[in-house]
Symmetry: C2
Amino acid sequence: MAMVSVSSNSTLTITELAQKVRDAAYQLSRTDIQQRNQALRCAAKALRAAEAEILAVNADEVAKADVSSAFKDRMTLNHDRLEAMAKGLEDIAGLPDPLGKELASWDRPNGLKFKRVSVPLGVVGMIYESRPNVGADAVGICIKSGNGIVLRGGSETHLTSMAIHKAMQQGMSDAGLNPDSIAMPSDSDRRHVMEMLHAVGIIDVIIPRGGYSLIRFVQQEARVPVLAHAAGLCHTYIHQTADFEKARKVLANAKMRRTGICGATETLLIDESIAKELLPILVSDLQKLGCRFVGNAKASQIASEIELASDEDFATEWLDAVLSVAVVKDIEEVIQHIVKYGSGHTEAIIAEDEKAVRYFMDSVPSAVVMWNTSTQFCDGGEFGFGAEIGIATGRLHARGPVGIEQLTSYRYEVYGNGQVRS
Amino acid sequence: MAMVSVSSNSTLTITELAQKVRDAAYQLSRTDIQQRNQALRCAAKALRAAEAEILAVNADEVAKADVSSAFKDRMTLNHDRLEAMAKGLEDIAGLPDPLGKELASWDRPNGLKFKRVSVPLGVVGMIYESRPNVGADAVGICIKSGNGIVLRGGSETHLTSMAIHKAMQQGMSDAGLNPDSIAMPSDSDRRHVMEMLHAVGIIDVIIPRGGYSLIRFVQQEARVPVLAHAAGLCHTYIHQTADFEKARKVLANAKMRRTGICGATETLLIDESIAKELLPILVSDLQKLGCRFVGNAKASQIASEIELASDEDFATEWLDAVLSVAVVKDIEEVIQHIVKYGSGHTEAIIAEDEKAVRYFMDSVPSAVVMWNTSTQFCDGGEFGFGAEIGIATGRLHARGPVGIEQLTSYRYEVYGNGQVRS
């Protein structure tokens, strides 16, 4: 059945394909959670059953791709990675149902009763680069939340993504659901992206996953609303009341655990009253982990390892073993710095004074604010969402990690007994 | 102070103006509710103090406008209408604070504590036609919710809107707040609209209020997300188990209370098993109120007052004393009809069978579903929101009436004690 669906899509435009997804998504929105969980388990099973086929297609694409070795690593699947994808789908099946939840209820003096109840968003347009697992995760989240999805993955792994997509559709069919709520164009033509970005009223939200230039392109061109973060320029601020041991441990993790993720700290801000004592220790800690440093004049005067930073450096998301350092007068300077250079993603304060923490959290205009912990915790899994499809720094709809709950909307139910409006 | 601000804006582009609003909105987001309520009360006072000036400017604009008498009525202010605007601001001051609310909180096994806390959206771009009260209401809602606002009203009442805007800014100044969070370009050039629609990252959301063509234009051109409804093609369905007296009372109100509002019922769907008995009564009721009818073949066979409808008629939002009528086989036909012709706004079922009600509510993909009551209740005030800035039929962010709470986003607060990510 999945095969039929895939092959028949080859003549459709993205808009026609998405309309078909929309119709199937409406059917999916009326299913119960047992059916959707069953589809997730069946999809995991179909993925495991197709392992040989998927890995063969993938090996062929990896061999043919003329890209860097880091890129090849990201596009490569193997038994363990495929198993992790299948396990991920089963984990999503174990999460609570995000649909039909009573979010609020109240009565009015005229006797009308109101309820706000969660419903699916509709159709998600997922645009991602050549990391085939991103497609499987996104499909799993959409099945769970009753949404349709149009997938457009990177061209280097298009055939791998198609093979995964086929297994996902098989899972839907095996569970007795319409597989058309999951769709992928049959070729990787770039015009599909533009068509998705303009499919107002057919695709409800675009979620791009990938590098800065992809995200910026999507944000600039899309007419459909976008949930994304273009940058993750996260700050860790060490307040004068910080516990030095916590500060050392947290900063090392925030900067160096993984330098390439959006939640990695890029800039250290530190109160000048403690910088002379603490900064050299921090620099020594991080240097041992392979980090290098740029910083403002006050910082480089304290530690000679810190090169003088340009204004541009403080606006740079390094995604690498580099830390920008600013020694600051006080918390006001910190807030100004973050407002000026931040990307609205995640900021942390290391402090023992709770009043400073409160002031920091209320003043920093970012999606996530943290106290005495690592900015690398900004992740749907670490938040307890079970799975994430992206992280958003805009303020409309979802902010921060985007999980199953964030892919829902709501409707109002109004219960009357013949009331009319005067 | 307000004067200085207004006059200094005359040389700014909309983007520059909106950036100034953004900076002031950030300051506003850090104020407490007492200050914002005080600003609302001061704005009401300033509006009353400026009555003579505002009414004189308005009378002049009304006299000069070359428009229909209905249009003139909408653009006209008088003592009562101005007093209603001032009272509206005071009412908003009496509503609960939408900011800083703990929306959710949970702990993770590693000891991290999470809170989701409401914060302002940022900057609202309000585009409206020549109804000056819309601007004052929108400003009130934005002050309360800590948002900045860029106003762009209809050109026929530009000077009236400017005079109101001046009073609103005066209210901010009188309460010791920065008046720059409320801005209006000093002329009514149409290019301002386009610039607002493209101000990604500076304006967070566009809210258009006006006729279908304005809304469609905004939805098609905007790069900034839009909260709106282009149409309100609402249905009332009378199920075979309906209480006839409730059905008569509710339908008369839903169709005829005010025919020009988006929550007015445009189409009656009625089960054929009761149509022969009930439909002639309904037609007679509504005819006495001045309504005329188009309908499907089954309907016009039952009541000769019902002209045969075209397919297009069922897709038409009459906004007038016209009712489309379809006699239907069953609830499945109703759902198909609403999916095909509806605008996702508000639908009502009149029934005594609760299972039918449940099925209807779960199956109809609209923002608001109602039982035994009038679709004209779809209004922020009637929902208990206190005030509304619009109604949205999209699924991202807010759906249904958009009030103060819907103009908020949230941030995550994460509380740790030195935890690092493994």
